[in-house]
């Protein structure tokens, strides 16, 4: 039975490049995450909380948009960092 078409991505028997990428990516990520907590959550928290109290419809739109935008931005950021540092991914 086929589990083969189209051919899955090439597999590398060595996990070393992946582990190196993981460690470097985590090292890059920790300061970004810490800054994010301080900047975004600190200042946006109250505004989102008041939106939650005032209008759930607006809050639902803002919440859905926020999670989608952050998801896209995180992927773009991490992909860019990986390319910038010439890491394998």
């Amino acid at each position: 039975m086929s589990d083969s078409s189209p051919s899955p991505p090439k597999q590398d028997p060595s996990l070393q490049p992946l582990l190196r990428s993981i460690l470097l990516e985590i090292a890059i990520y920790v300061p970004i995450v810490a800054t994010y907590f301080w900047l975004i959550l600190r200042f946006a928290g109250d505004k989102l909380a008041s939106l939650y109290q005032d209008s759930l419809t607006l809050y639902a739109i803002a919440a859905t948009l926020a999670i989608v935008i952050q998801g896209v931005l995180l992927e773009v950021l991490t992909s860019w960092l990986l390319r910038r540092f010439g890491l394998r991914h």
Binding site: P6, I67, V72
Partner: protein, 296 residues
Amino acid sequence: MFFPISQVFTNPFVLAAIGFIVGLLGGFFGVGGGFLAGPLLFWTGVPMNFVVGTDLAHMTGKSIVAARRHRALGNVDFRLGLLMILGTIPGIEIGAQLLEVVDKTGQADHIVGYTYVFILTVIGLFTGLESIRTIRKKRTDRLPAKDVLGVVRTERRSRLFNIPPLIKLTVSGVESVSIWSIIFIGFFTGLLAGFLGVGGGFARLPMLVYIIGVPTHVAVGTDLFEIVISAGYGTFTHSLKGNVDIMIALTMLTGAGIGAQIGAVGTRYFSGPTIRLMFSILPLIAAVLVLLRIGI
């Protein structure tokens, strides 16, 4: 740190760490990870009414990260994903209605719990046994693991899955498959999601592999694409009911983002049967967690 929406004091780094673990699983196995994130969120002190909605919100963002990465690896079959959604959304709604009916009996926790445990155990055992059989076959027959599946695809066994219209799934490499079988998978997993309050990825991945014959890597990527849509829909509806603390979800996503990336890239290093073997452990862990939750 204080999260004013759910009125919870909790450590944001713990939330990010939970996101990382769940993101890693999601990126690698194509599951939402709600079975794990839910109990962990509850453990950090998040009220139960916020757990499901907040988990769905973080799942949406995490799946975007992982699905984009899988798309770059050529692992997302958009045609398949969009067709499944046609079944998923009504499935979720009917599942939720079914849950309300069961809820009126006063035995909802036990009925849902035992149903969940049964389904999880069947999926875990079946996937585990099949992948072990496949890996053994690979060793004895000297076939590459990616070229074998330890069972005969259901689509090849039954004429039900050849009801027209038939379509070709180019990315998945499936020459001909009935649209109805794809919509059925979406509907069935949506029904489970609505009834059990979970994402349904744990059922979708094996169904895509064993019923449609989608390669494991493409099943993972396509499942994540499906989760983006279904969890995004769930996020919006739960937000309308006031059940989402978006601050917590955004915090979890900072960890989940990197976890999902690493998990997605990690699939390049393992063959389909190996991924399925590791995946088979997840439903069994989830079954134990559910049994503990309903007090067995």
